[in-house]
Symmetry: C2
Amino acid sequence: MLPECPSRIYFQVAGRICPDLLQIIIMNRAELVSAIRSKKSVLCVGLDTDPSKIPAHLRDQPGGVLEFNKAIIDATKDYTVSYKINTAFYEAQGIKGWEILRDTLAYIPQDIFTIADAKRGDIGNTADQYATTFFDVYPFDSVTVAPYMGEDSVKPFLKRDDRWAIVLGLTSNKGSQDFQMLDTGGEKLYEQVLKKVASWASPDNLMFVVGATQTEQLAHIRSIIPQHFLLIPGVGAQGGDLDEVCQIAMHGDGGILVNVSRAVIFAGSGEDFAEKARESAAAYQAQMAKYL
Amino acid sequence: MLPECPSRIYFQVAGRICPDLLQIIIMNRAELVSAIRSKKSVLCVGLDTDPSKIPAHLRDQPGGVLEFNKAIIDATKDYTVSYKINTAFYEAQGIKGWEILRDTLAYIPQDIFTIADAKRGDIGNTADQYATTFFDVYPFDSVTVAPYMGEDSVKPFLKRDDRWAIVLGLTSNKGSQDFQMLDTGGEKLYEQVLKKVASWASPDNLMFVVGATQTEQLAHIRSIIPQHFLLIPGVGAQGGDLDEVCQIAMHGDGGILVNVSRAVIFAGSGEDFAEKARESAAAYQAQMAKYL
Protein backbone atom coordinates (compact mmCIF):
# COMPACT_ATOMS: atom_id res chain seq x y z
CA MET A 1 0.00 0.00 0.00
CA LEU A 2 0.99 3.62 -0.30
CA PRO A 3 2.85 5.27 2.57
CA GLU A 4 1.15 7.88 4.73
CA CYS A 5 1.24 11.26 3.08
CA PRO A 6 -0.78 14.46 2.87
CA SER A 7 -3.88 14.19 0.76
CA ARG A 8 -4.04 15.78 -2.69
CA ILE A 9 -5.80 18.71 -1.07
CA TYR A 10 -2.49 19.88 0.34
CA PHE A 11 -1.06 20.58 -3.07
CA GLN A 12 -4.13 22.30 -4.32
CA VAL A 13 -4.54 24.58 -1.35
CA ALA A 14 -0.88 25.48 -1.53
CA GLY A 15 -1.56 26.34 -5.15
CA ARG A 16 1.53 24.65 -6.47
CA ILE A 17 3.15 21.25 -6.74
CA CYS A 18 5.59 19.99 -4.14
CA PRO A 19 7.68 17.49 -6.14
CA ASP A 20 9.10 15.56 -3.19
CA LEU A 21 5.72 14.88 -1.70
CA LEU A 22 3.96 14.52 -5.01
CA GLN A 23 5.88 11.36 -5.85
CA ILE A 24 4.25 9.42 -3.08
CA ILE A 25 0.71 10.16 -4.13
CA ILE A 26 1.23 8.84 -7.65
CA MET A 27 0.29 5.20 -8.21
CA ASN A 28 2.64 2.92 -10.06
CA ARG A 29 1.61 -0.44 -11.48
CA ALA A 30 2.49 -2.41 -8.33
CA GLU A 31 0.35 -0.08 -6.20
CA LEU A 32 -2.55 -0.29 -8.62
CA VAL A 33 -2.36 -4.10 -8.67
CA SER A 34 -2.20 -4.14 -4.88
CA ALA A 35 -5.37 -2.03 -4.68
CA ILE A 36 -7.15 -4.34 -7.13
CA ARG A 37 -6.24 -7.43 -5.09
CA SER A 38 -7.10 -5.87 -1.79
CA LYS A 39 -10.50 -4.52 -2.88
CA LYS A 40 -11.26 -7.38 -5.29
CA SER A 41 -12.38 -4.75 -7.74
CA VAL A 42 -11.42 -3.34 -11.11
CA LEU A 43 -14.15 -0.72 -10.94
CA CYS A 44 -13.46 2.77 -12.21
CA VAL A 45 -16.24 5.24 -11.45
CA GLY A 46 -16.61 7.90 -14.13
CA LEU A 47 -17.40 11.32 -12.72
CA ASP A 48 -19.22 12.56 -15.83
CA THR A 49 -21.13 14.99 -13.69
CA ASP A 50 -23.66 16.72 -15.91
CA PRO A 51 -24.99 19.53 -13.69
CA SER A 52 -28.45 19.20 -15.23
CA LYS A 53 -28.67 15.58 -14.10
CA ILE A 54 -27.74 15.82 -10.44
CA PRO A 55 -30.56 15.58 -7.88
CA ALA A 56 -32.89 18.55 -7.71
CA HIS A 57 -31.90 19.56 -4.17
CA LEU A 58 -28.28 20.10 -5.35
CA ARG A 59 -28.90 21.27 -8.90
CA ASP A 60 -29.16 25.00 -8.47
CA GLN A 61 -27.18 25.26 -5.28
CA PRO A 62 -23.79 26.98 -5.44
CA GLY A 63 -21.24 24.25 -4.97
CA GLY A 64 -23.84 21.60 -5.75
CA VAL A 65 -21.73 19.74 -8.31
CA LEU A 66 -18.74 19.51 -5.97
CA GLU A 67 -20.98 18.41 -3.13
CA PHE A 68 -22.46 15.76 -5.43
CA ASN A 69 -19.01 14.51 -6.43
CA LYS A 70 -17.79 14.35 -2.84
CA ALA A 71 -20.86 12.40 -1.78
CA ILE A 72 -20.39 9.99 -4.70
CA ILE A 73 -16.71 9.51 -3.79
CA ASP A 74 -17.53 8.92 -0.11
CA ALA A 75 -20.23 6.42 -1.06
CA THR A 76 -18.25 4.45 -3.64
CA LYS A 77 -14.58 4.61 -2.59
CA ASP A 78 -14.64 1.22 -0.84
CA TYR A 79 -15.66 -0.48 -4.07
CA THR A 80 -13.58 1.31 -6.65
CA VAL A 81 -9.87 1.37 -7.47
CA SER A 82 -10.09 4.34 -9.83
CA TYR A 83 -11.99 7.52 -10.57
CA LYS A 84 -12.13 8.92 -14.07
CA ILE A 85 -12.92 12.60 -14.44
CA ASN A 86 -14.38 13.38 -17.86
CA THR A 87 -12.99 16.85 -18.39
CA ALA A 88 -15.69 17.85 -20.92
CA PHE A 89 -18.37 18.03 -18.26
CA TYR A 90 -16.23 20.46 -16.25
CA GLU A 91 -14.95 22.52 -19.19
CA ALA A 92 -18.56 23.14 -20.23
CA GLN A 93 -19.16 24.84 -16.89
CA GLY A 94 -16.58 27.48 -17.69
CA ILE A 95 -13.93 28.58 -15.23
CA LYS A 96 -15.83 27.42 -12.17
CA GLY A 97 -15.88 23.96 -13.75
CA TRP A 98 -12.08 23.79 -13.52
CA GLU A 99 -12.30 24.75 -9.87
CA ILE A 100 -14.74 21.89 -9.33
CA LEU A 101 -12.45 19.52 -11.25
CA ARG A 102 -9.46 20.60 -9.14
CA ASP A 103 -11.35 20.24 -5.87
CA THR A 104 -12.86 16.90 -6.89
CA LEU A 105 -9.42 15.54 -7.74
CA ALA A 106 -8.12 16.82 -4.41
CA TYR A 107 -10.89 14.93 -2.61
CA ILE A 108 -10.07 11.54 -4.13
CA PRO A 109 -8.27 9.32 -1.60
CA GLN A 110 -4.57 8.94 -2.26
CA ASP A 111 -4.72 5.18 -2.78
CA ILE A 112 -7.19 5.40 -5.67
CA PHE A 113 -5.93 5.72 -9.26
CA THR A 114 -7.03 8.90 -11.02
CA ILE A 115 -7.68 9.37 -14.74
CA ALA A 116 -8.12 12.65 -16.59
CA ASP A 117 -10.37 11.58 -19.44
CA ALA A 118 -9.36 14.41 -21.74
CA LYS A 119 -8.47 12.60 -24.99
CA ARG A 120 -5.86 15.17 -25.92
CA GLY A 121 -3.63 14.84 -28.97
CA ASP A 122 -1.52 17.47 -30.73
CA ILE A 123 1.99 18.14 -32.03
CA GLY A 124 4.91 17.74 -29.62
CA ASN A 125 5.25 21.23 -28.19
CA THR A 126 1.50 21.36 -27.59
CA ALA A 127 1.31 17.84 -26.15
CA ASP A 128 4.00 18.91 -23.67
CA GLN A 129 1.61 21.61 -22.47
CA TYR A 130 -1.20 19.09 -22.05
CA ALA A 131 1.11 16.78 -20.08
CA THR A 132 1.91 19.70 -17.77
CA THR A 133 -1.81 20.37 -17.41
CA PHE A 134 -2.82 16.88 -16.38
CA PHE A 135 0.32 15.72 -14.59
CA ASP A 136 1.43 18.88 -12.78
CA VAL A 137 -1.26 21.55 -12.64
CA TYR A 138 -3.89 18.94 -11.86
CA PRO A 139 -1.87 16.00 -10.52
CA PHE A 140 -3.64 13.04 -12.09
CA ASP A 141 -2.02 9.62 -12.30
CA SER A 142 -2.99 9.32 -15.95
CA VAL A 143 -4.56 11.02 -18.95
CA THR A 144 -6.37 9.63 -21.99
CA VAL A 145 -4.70 10.42 -25.34
CA ALA A 146 -5.90 10.27 -28.98
CA PRO A 147 -3.50 8.53 -31.39
CA TYR A 148 -4.41 10.06 -34.78
CA MET A 149 -1.43 12.45 -34.89
CA GLY A 150 1.12 9.72 -34.16
CA GLU A 151 4.30 9.31 -32.16
CA ASP A 152 5.29 12.89 -31.36
CA SER A 153 1.75 13.59 -30.15
CA VAL A 154 1.77 10.64 -27.71
CA LYS A 155 5.36 10.52 -26.43
CA PRO A 156 5.19 13.67 -24.28
CA PHE A 157 2.72 11.77 -22.09
CA LEU A 158 5.13 8.83 -21.75
CA LYS A 159 8.19 10.74 -20.60
CA ARG A 160 7.64 10.14 -16.92
CA ASP A 161 8.00 6.73 -15.32
CA ASP A 162 5.42 7.57 -12.68
CA ARG A 163 2.58 8.82 -14.91
CA TRP A 164 0.44 7.00 -17.40
CA ALA A 165 -0.85 7.65 -20.87
CA ILE A 166 -4.05 5.80 -21.74
CA VAL A 167 -4.26 5.74 -25.54
CA LEU A 168 -7.47 5.19 -27.52
CA GLY A 169 -7.43 1.77 -29.15
CA LEU A 170 -10.89 0.53 -30.06
CA THR A 171 -13.60 2.71 -28.56
CA SER A 172 -17.07 1.78 -27.34
CA ASN A 173 -19.14 4.03 -29.60
CA LYS A 174 -20.85 3.37 -32.92
CA GLY A 175 -18.41 5.72 -34.68
CA SER A 176 -15.55 3.34 -33.85
CA GLN A 177 -16.59 1.50 -37.01
CA ASP A 178 -15.85 4.49 -39.24
CA PHE A 179 -12.06 4.54 -39.07
CA GLN A 180 -10.75 2.26 -36.29
CA MET A 181 -12.07 -0.84 -38.05
CA LEU A 182 -10.71 0.05 -41.50
CA ASP A 183 -8.58 -2.64 -43.07
CA THR A 184 -4.99 -1.45 -43.43
CA GLY A 185 -3.44 -4.30 -45.39
CA GLY A 186 -4.59 -7.31 -43.36
CA GLU A 187 -4.82 -5.51 -40.04
CA LYS A 188 -7.42 -3.10 -38.83
CA LEU A 189 -6.38 0.43 -37.98
CA TYR A 190 -6.91 -0.12 -34.26
CA GLU A 191 -4.55 -3.13 -34.36
CA GLN A 192 -1.84 -0.99 -35.94
CA VAL A 193 -2.45 1.61 -33.24
CA LEU A 194 -2.14 -0.95 -30.43
CA LYS A 195 1.05 -2.47 -31.85
CA LYS A 196 2.81 0.74 -32.75
CA VAL A 197 1.92 2.65 -29.59
CA ALA A 198 2.85 -0.36 -27.43
CA SER A 199 6.34 -0.21 -28.97
CA TRP A 200 6.80 3.31 -27.55
CA ALA A 201 6.51 2.48 -23.84
CA SER A 202 6.28 -0.36 -21.35
CA PRO A 203 3.09 -1.65 -19.72
CA ASP A 204 4.27 0.19 -16.61
CA ASN A 205 3.05 3.57 -17.83
CA LEU A 206 0.89 2.87 -20.86
CA MET A 207 -2.70 1.59 -21.02
CA PHE A 208 -5.22 1.41 -23.85
CA VAL A 209 -8.90 2.28 -24.11
CA VAL A 210 -10.96 -0.65 -25.40
CA GLY A 211 -14.74 -0.44 -25.34
CA ALA A 212 -16.74 -3.08 -23.45
CA THR A 213 -19.09 -3.16 -26.41
CA GLN A 214 -16.27 -4.67 -28.53
CA THR A 215 -16.22 -8.11 -26.88
CA GLU A 216 -15.80 -9.95 -30.19
CA GLN A 217 -12.44 -8.18 -30.55
CA LEU A 218 -11.34 -8.40 -26.90
CA ALA A 219 -9.60 -11.78 -26.97
CA HIS A 220 -7.69 -10.74 -30.06
CA ILE A 221 -6.71 -7.46 -28.40
CA ARG A 222 -5.49 -9.37 -25.35
CA SER A 223 -3.29 -11.49 -27.61
CA ILE A 224 -1.74 -8.37 -29.18
CA ILE A 225 -1.06 -6.64 -25.85
CA PRO A 226 -1.04 -9.38 -23.21
CA GLN A 227 0.51 -7.29 -20.43
CA HIS A 228 -1.04 -3.84 -20.73
CA PHE A 229 -3.86 -2.61 -18.60
CA LEU A 230 -7.03 -1.84 -20.55
CA LEU A 231 -9.38 0.96 -19.59
CA ILE A 232 -12.77 -0.43 -20.57
CA PRO A 233 -15.71 1.95 -20.84
CA GLY A 234 -19.10 0.94 -22.15
CA VAL A 235 -20.50 -1.14 -19.27
CA GLY A 236 -23.76 0.30 -17.93
CA ALA A 237 -25.54 2.93 -20.01
CA GLN A 238 -23.70 1.85 -23.17
CA GLY A 239 -24.68 -1.83 -22.75
CA GLY A 240 -21.39 -3.75 -22.51
CA ASP A 241 -21.43 -7.15 -20.72
CA LEU A 242 -19.29 -7.10 -17.55
CA ASP A 243 -18.99 -10.87 -17.11
CA GLU A 244 -17.83 -11.33 -20.65
CA VAL A 245 -15.31 -8.49 -20.29
CA CYS A 246 -13.86 -9.97 -17.07
CA GLN A 247 -13.63 -13.46 -18.54
CA ILE A 248 -11.88 -12.37 -21.69
CA ALA A 249 -9.72 -9.41 -20.74
CA MET A 250 -8.51 -9.90 -17.17
CA HIS A 251 -5.01 -11.20 -16.50
CA GLY A 252 -2.98 -12.10 -13.41
CA ASP A 253 -2.57 -8.45 -12.38
CA GLY A 254 -6.25 -7.72 -12.90
CA GLY A 255 -5.25 -6.03 -16.10
CA ILE A 256 -8.39 -4.00 -16.67
CA LEU A 257 -10.15 -0.98 -15.26
CA VAL A 258 -13.84 -1.15 -16.06
CA ASN A 259 -15.37 2.29 -16.18
CA VAL A 260 -18.99 2.83 -15.27
CA SER A 261 -20.26 6.39 -15.23
CA ARG A 262 -23.98 7.09 -15.48
CA ALA A 263 -25.11 3.70 -14.12
CA VAL A 264 -23.31 4.46 -10.84
CA ILE A 265 -23.41 8.21 -10.33
CA PHE A 266 -26.98 8.64 -11.56
CA ALA A 267 -28.28 5.34 -10.11
CA GLY A 268 -30.60 7.46 -7.98
CA SER A 269 -32.04 10.88 -8.60
CA GLY A 270 -33.42 11.76 -5.18
CA GLU A 271 -31.94 12.70 -1.84
CA ASP A 272 -30.72 9.12 -1.47
CA PHE A 273 -28.57 9.37 -4.62
CA ALA A 274 -25.35 8.54 -2.76
CA GLU A 275 -26.84 5.41 -1.22
CA LYS A 276 -28.07 4.33 -4.65
CA ALA A 277 -24.62 4.97 -6.10
CA ARG A 278 -23.06 2.91 -3.31
CA GLU A 279 -25.44 0.02 -4.04
CA SER A 280 -24.67 0.19 -7.73
CA ALA A 281 -20.88 0.31 -7.18
CA ALA A 282 -21.11 -2.53 -4.64
CA ALA A 283 -23.04 -4.67 -7.11
CA TYR A 284 -20.43 -4.12 -9.82
CA GLN A 285 -17.64 -4.90 -7.35
CA ALA A 286 -19.34 -8.12 -6.25
CA GLN A 287 -19.67 -9.19 -9.87
CA MET A 288 -15.97 -8.43 -10.46
CA ALA A 289 -14.84 -10.22 -7.28
CA LYS A 290 -15.87 -13.56 -8.78
CA TYR A 291 -12.99 -13.26 -11.23
CA LEU A 292 -10.33 -11.86 -8.88
CA MET B 1 -19.14 43.18 -43.78
CA LEU B 2 -20.63 42.43 -40.39
CA PRO B 3 -23.21 44.81 -38.94
CA GLU B 4 -22.35 47.00 -35.97
CA CYS B 5 -22.65 45.11 -32.72
CA PRO B 6 -21.11 45.05 -29.25
CA SER B 7 -17.69 43.46 -29.09
CA ARG B 8 -17.25 39.97 -27.66
CA ILE B 9 -16.26 41.63 -24.39
CA TYR B 10 -19.89 42.43 -23.75
CA PHE B 11 -20.85 38.79 -23.47
CA GLN B 12 -17.94 37.91 -21.29
CA VAL B 13 -18.38 40.75 -18.84
CA ALA B 14 -22.07 39.97 -18.61
CA GLY B 15 -20.97 36.45 -17.77
CA ARG B 16 -23.45 34.77 -20.06
CA ILE B 17 -24.39 34.53 -23.70
CA CYS B 18 -27.01 36.76 -25.25
CA PRO B 19 -28.32 34.60 -28.12
CA ASP B 20 -29.92 37.42 -30.13
CA LEU B 21 -26.77 39.46 -30.19
CA LEU B 22 -24.44 36.52 -30.41
CA GLN B 23 -25.66 35.62 -33.86
CA ILE B 24 -24.23 38.74 -35.36
CA ILE B 25 -20.72 38.20 -34.06
CA ILE B 26 -20.43 34.75 -35.60
CA MET B 27 -18.84 34.62 -39.04
CA ASN B 28 -20.44 32.57 -41.78
CA ARG B 29 -18.65 31.60 -44.97
CA ALA B 30 -19.72 34.71 -46.91
CA GLU B 31 -18.40 36.96 -44.17
CA LEU B 32 -15.11 35.09 -43.97
CA VAL B 33 -14.67 35.29 -47.74
CA SER B 34 -15.48 38.99 -47.63
CA ALA B 35 -12.78 39.55 -44.99
CA ILE B 36 -10.25 37.60 -47.09
CA ARG B 37 -10.99 39.70 -50.19
CA SER B 38 -10.97 42.97 -48.35
CA LYS B 39 -7.71 42.34 -46.48
CA LYS B 40 -6.09 40.32 -49.29
CA SER B 41 -5.00 37.89 -46.63
CA VAL B 42 -5.58 34.30 -45.54
CA LEU B 43 -3.37 34.73 -42.50
CA CYS B 44 -4.39 33.11 -39.24
CA VAL B 45 -2.21 34.12 -36.30
CA GLY B 46 -1.82 31.36 -33.74
CA LEU B 47 -1.85 32.60 -30.18
CA ASP B 48 0.25 29.73 -28.79
CA THR B 49 1.34 31.98 -25.97
CA ASP B 50 3.90 30.07 -23.93
CA PRO B 51 4.37 32.26 -20.82
CA SER B 52 8.05 31.33 -20.63
CA LYS B 53 8.65 32.76 -24.12
CA ILE B 54 7.08 36.19 -23.87
CA PRO B 55 9.40 39.19 -23.49
CA ALA B 56 11.17 39.52 -20.17
CA HIS B 57 9.43 42.75 -19.18
CA LEU B 58 6.05 40.97 -19.32
CA ARG B 59 7.07 37.49 -18.23
CA ASP B 60 6.65 37.68 -14.50
CA GLN B 61 4.13 40.48 -14.45
CA PRO B 62 0.58 39.63 -13.33
CA GLY B 63 -1.54 39.87 -16.43
CA GLY B 64 1.56 39.74 -18.63
CA VAL B 65 0.24 37.00 -20.94
CA LEU B 66 -3.03 38.83 -21.57
CA GLU B 67 -1.17 42.08 -22.14
CA PHE B 68 1.10 40.28 -24.60
CA ASN B 69 -1.88 38.80 -26.46
CA LYS B 70 -3.66 42.15 -26.66
CA ALA B 71 -0.54 43.84 -28.00
CA ILE B 72 -0.11 41.08 -30.60
CA ILE B 73 -3.76 41.41 -31.66
CA ASP B 74 -3.51 45.20 -31.92
CA ALA B 75 -0.33 44.90 -33.96
CA THR B 76 -1.49 42.19 -36.36
CA LYS B 77 -5.25 42.62 -36.78
CA ASP B 78 -4.96 44.60 -40.02
CA TYR B 79 -3.13 41.72 -41.69
CA THR B 80 -5.01 38.70 -40.39
CA VAL B 81 -8.47 37.28 -41.02
CA SER B 82 -8.33 34.79 -38.17
CA TYR B 83 -6.86 34.12 -34.73
CA LYS B 84 -6.35 30.59 -33.49
CA ILE B 85 -6.11 30.07 -29.75
CA ASN B 86 -4.23 26.88 -28.91
CA THR B 87 -6.05 25.88 -25.74
CA ALA B 88 -3.16 23.74 -24.42
CA PHE B 89 -1.03 26.78 -23.65
CA TYR B 90 -3.85 28.24 -21.54
CA GLU B 91 -4.93 24.99 -19.87
CA ALA B 92 -1.33 24.50 -18.69
CA GLN B 93 -1.60 27.78 -16.76
CA GLY B 94 -4.41 26.37 -14.63
CA ILE B 95 -7.57 28.27 -13.90
CA LYS B 96 -6.04 31.68 -14.57
CA GLY B 97 -5.19 30.38 -18.05
CA TRP B 98 -8.88 30.01 -18.85
CA GLU B 99 -9.45 33.56 -17.69
CA ILE B 100 -6.71 34.70 -20.07
CA LEU B 101 -8.23 32.62 -22.89
CA ARG B 102 -11.67 34.13 -22.24
CA ASP B 103 -10.33 37.68 -22.11
CA THR B 104 -8.15 37.17 -25.18
CA LEU B 105 -11.13 35.88 -27.16
CA ALA B 106 -13.17 38.85 -25.97
CA TYR B 107 -10.49 41.21 -27.27
CA ILE B 108 -10.47 39.84 -30.81
CA PRO B 109 -12.30 42.21 -33.20
CA GLN B 110 -15.71 40.98 -34.24
CA ASP B 111 -14.89 40.77 -37.93
CA ILE B 112 -12.02 38.32 -37.43
CA PHE B 113 -12.69 34.57 -37.50
CA THR B 114 -11.84 32.76 -34.25
CA ILE B 115 -10.62 29.19 -33.85
CA ALA B 116 -10.42 27.18 -30.62
CA ASP B 117 -7.57 24.82 -31.43
CA ALA B 118 -8.61 22.18 -28.93
CA LYS B 119 -8.63 18.97 -31.02
CA ARG B 120 -11.42 17.44 -28.96
CA GLY B 121 -13.01 14.09 -29.84
CA ASP B 122 -15.18 11.84 -27.68
CA ILE B 123 -18.48 9.94 -27.68
CA GLY B 124 -21.66 11.85 -28.47
CA ASN B 125 -22.80 12.96 -25.02
CA THR B 126 -19.28 14.15 -24.23
CA ALA B 127 -18.77 15.85 -27.59
CA ASP B 128 -21.99 17.78 -26.88
CA GLN B 129 -20.31 19.15 -23.76
CA TYR B 130 -17.25 20.21 -25.73
CA ALA B 131 -19.46 21.94 -28.31
CA THR B 132 -21.10 23.87 -25.47
CA THR B 133 -17.65 24.77 -24.15
CA PHE B 134 -16.28 26.22 -27.37
CA PHE B 135 -19.46 27.55 -28.96
CA ASP B 136 -21.36 28.91 -25.96
CA VAL B 137 -19.20 29.30 -22.86
CA TYR B 138 -16.34 30.68 -24.95
CA PRO B 139 -18.07 31.90 -28.13
CA PHE B 140 -15.60 30.85 -30.81
CA ASP B 141 -16.59 30.65 -34.46
CA SER B 142 -14.97 27.22 -34.76
CA VAL B 143 -13.19 24.40 -32.97
CA THR B 144 -10.69 21.80 -34.15
CA VAL B 145 -11.87 18.18 -33.82
CA ALA B 146 -10.06 14.81 -33.92
CA PRO B 147 -11.69 12.17 -36.16
CA TYR B 148 -10.46 8.87 -34.65
CA MET B 149 -13.74 8.11 -32.83
CA GLY B 150 -15.90 8.61 -35.93
CA GLU B 151 -19.27 10.08 -36.77
CA ASP B 152 -20.94 10.45 -33.39
CA SER B 153 -17.82 12.16 -32.04
CA VAL B 154 -17.78 14.77 -34.83
CA LYS B 155 -21.47 15.46 -35.49
CA PRO B 156 -22.19 17.37 -32.26
CA PHE B 157 -19.85 20.07 -33.62
CA LEU B 158 -21.78 20.23 -36.91
CA LYS B 159 -25.27 20.72 -35.50
CA ARG B 160 -25.27 24.49 -35.83
CA ASP B 161 -25.35 26.24 -39.16
CA ASP B 162 -23.44 29.21 -37.77
CA ARG B 163 -20.50 27.38 -36.17
CA TRP B 164 -17.68 25.43 -37.70
CA ALA B 165 -15.93 22.16 -37.00
CA ILE B 166 -12.38 21.96 -38.31
CA VAL B 167 -11.50 18.27 -38.50
CA LEU B 168 -7.96 16.87 -38.59
CA GLY B 169 -7.16 15.53 -42.05
CA LEU B 170 -3.43 15.29 -42.71
CA THR B 171 -1.41 17.04 -40.02
CA SER B 172 1.90 18.86 -40.29
CA ASN B 173 3.93 16.81 -37.82
CA LYS B 174 6.27 13.87 -38.33
CA GLY B 175 3.83 11.58 -36.51
CA SER B 176 1.29 12.09 -39.31
CA GLN B 177 3.14 9.29 -41.08
CA ASP B 178 2.32 6.75 -38.37
CA PHE B 179 -1.39 6.29 -38.96
CA GLN B 180 -2.77 9.00 -41.30
CA MET B 181 -0.70 7.70 -44.22
CA LEU B 182 -1.57 4.02 -43.73
CA ASP B 183 -2.93 2.34 -46.83
CA THR B 184 -6.55 1.32 -46.28
CA GLY B 185 -7.24 -0.64 -49.46
CA GLY B 186 -6.00 1.76 -52.12
CA GLU B 187 -6.65 4.93 -50.16
CA LYS B 188 -4.71 6.35 -47.27
CA LEU B 189 -6.44 6.74 -43.93
CA TYR B 190 -6.49 10.54 -44.22
CA GLU B 191 -8.27 10.28 -47.58
CA GLN B 192 -10.97 8.13 -46.03
CA VAL B 193 -11.28 10.70 -43.24
CA LEU B 194 -11.65 13.60 -45.68
CA LYS B 195 -14.26 11.79 -47.79
CA LYS B 196 -16.33 10.37 -44.97
CA VAL B 197 -16.33 13.50 -42.80
CA ALA B 198 -17.12 15.69 -45.83
CA SER B 199 -20.26 13.60 -46.34
CA TRP B 200 -21.52 14.66 -42.90
CA ALA B 201 -21.74 18.42 -43.49
CA SER B 202 -21.49 21.12 -46.13
CA PRO B 203 -18.46 23.33 -46.79
CA ASP B 204 -20.44 26.06 -45.03
CA ASN B 205 -19.59 24.82 -41.56
CA LEU B 206 -16.85 22.25 -42.01
CA MET B 207 -13.14 22.77 -42.65
CA PHE B 208 -10.17 20.41 -42.52
CA VAL B 209 -6.69 20.70 -41.05
CA VAL B 210 -3.99 19.98 -43.65
CA GLY B 211 -0.37 20.64 -42.79
CA ALA B 212 1.68 23.01 -44.94
CA THR B 213 4.49 20.47 -44.75
CA GLN B 214 2.36 18.06 -46.83
CA THR B 215 2.58 19.93 -50.14
CA GLU B 216 3.06 16.75 -52.17
CA GLN B 217 -0.43 15.70 -51.02
CA LEU B 218 -2.11 19.13 -51.27
CA ALA B 219 -3.24 19.03 -54.90
CA HIS B 220 -4.73 15.60 -54.35
CA ILE B 221 -6.49 16.82 -51.21
CA ARG B 222 -7.90 19.76 -53.17
CA SER B 223 -9.30 17.34 -55.72
CA ILE B 224 -11.04 15.32 -52.98
CA ILE B 225 -12.56 18.35 -51.25
CA PRO B 226 -12.61 21.15 -53.84
CA GLN B 227 -14.93 23.48 -51.91
CA HIS B 228 -13.92 23.18 -48.26
CA PHE B 229 -11.74 25.65 -46.46
CA LEU B 230 -8.45 24.20 -45.26
CA LEU B 231 -6.78 25.32 -42.06
CA ILE B 232 -3.11 25.00 -42.89
CA PRO B 233 -0.58 25.04 -40.04
CA GLY B 234 3.11 24.40 -40.52
CA VAL B 235 4.31 27.59 -42.21
CA GLY B 236 6.99 29.34 -40.17
CA ALA B 237 8.68 27.39 -37.36
CA GLN B 238 7.62 24.05 -38.90
CA GLY B 239 9.08 24.91 -42.33
CA GLY B 240 6.15 24.77 -44.78
CA ASP B 241 6.43 26.79 -48.02
CA LEU B 242 3.79 29.54 -48.20
CA ASP B 243 4.03 30.21 -51.95
CA GLU B 244 3.59 26.57 -52.76
CA VAL B 245 0.61 26.31 -50.38
CA CYS B 246 -1.11 29.34 -51.94
CA GLN B 247 -0.51 28.12 -55.48
CA ILE B 248 -1.84 24.65 -54.85
CA ALA B 249 -4.59 25.01 -52.26
CA MET B 250 -6.30 28.37 -52.79
CA HIS B 251 -9.62 28.54 -54.64
CA GLY B 252 -11.97 31.33 -55.74
CA ASP B 253 -13.13 32.01 -52.16
CA GLY B 254 -9.59 32.02 -50.85
CA GLY B 255 -10.28 28.60 -49.48
CA ILE B 256 -7.46 28.41 -46.97
CA LEU B 257 -6.48 29.85 -43.63
CA VAL B 258 -2.72 29.68 -43.21
CA ASN B 259 -1.76 29.56 -39.57
CA VAL B 260 1.50 31.00 -38.36
CA SER B 261 2.16 30.97 -34.64
CA ARG B 262 5.70 31.28 -33.33
CA ALA B 263 7.11 33.06 -36.41
CA VAL B 264 4.68 35.92 -35.82
CA ILE B 265 4.07 36.16 -32.09
CA PHE B 266 7.68 35.50 -31.11
CA ALA B 267 9.24 37.39 -34.06
CA GLY B 268 10.77 39.72 -31.49
CA SER B 269 11.74 39.09 -27.90
CA GLY B 270 12.35 42.61 -26.63
CA GLU B 271 10.17 45.58 -25.81
CA ASP B 272 9.49 46.03 -29.52
CA PHE B 273 7.91 42.55 -29.79
CA ALA B 274 4.60 43.92 -31.07
CA GLU B 275 6.27 45.91 -33.82
CA LYS B 276 8.25 42.81 -34.84
CA ALA B 277 5.03 40.78 -34.87
CA ARG B 278 3.37 43.41 -37.04
CA GLU B 279 6.28 43.33 -39.51
CA SER B 280 6.14 39.53 -39.64
CA ALA B 281 2.36 39.46 -40.15
CA ALA B 282 2.58 42.21 -42.78
CA ALA B 283 5.23 40.24 -44.68
CA TYR B 284 3.09 37.11 -44.72
CA GLN B 285 0.06 39.14 -45.84
CA ALA B 286 2.04 40.74 -48.67
CA GLN B 287 3.17 37.32 -49.85
CA MET B 288 -0.45 36.06 -49.76
CA ALA B 289 -1.83 39.15 -51.55
CA LYS B 290 -0.03 38.10 -54.74
CA TYR B 291 -2.44 35.20 -55.04
CA LEU B 292 -5.66 36.97 -54.03
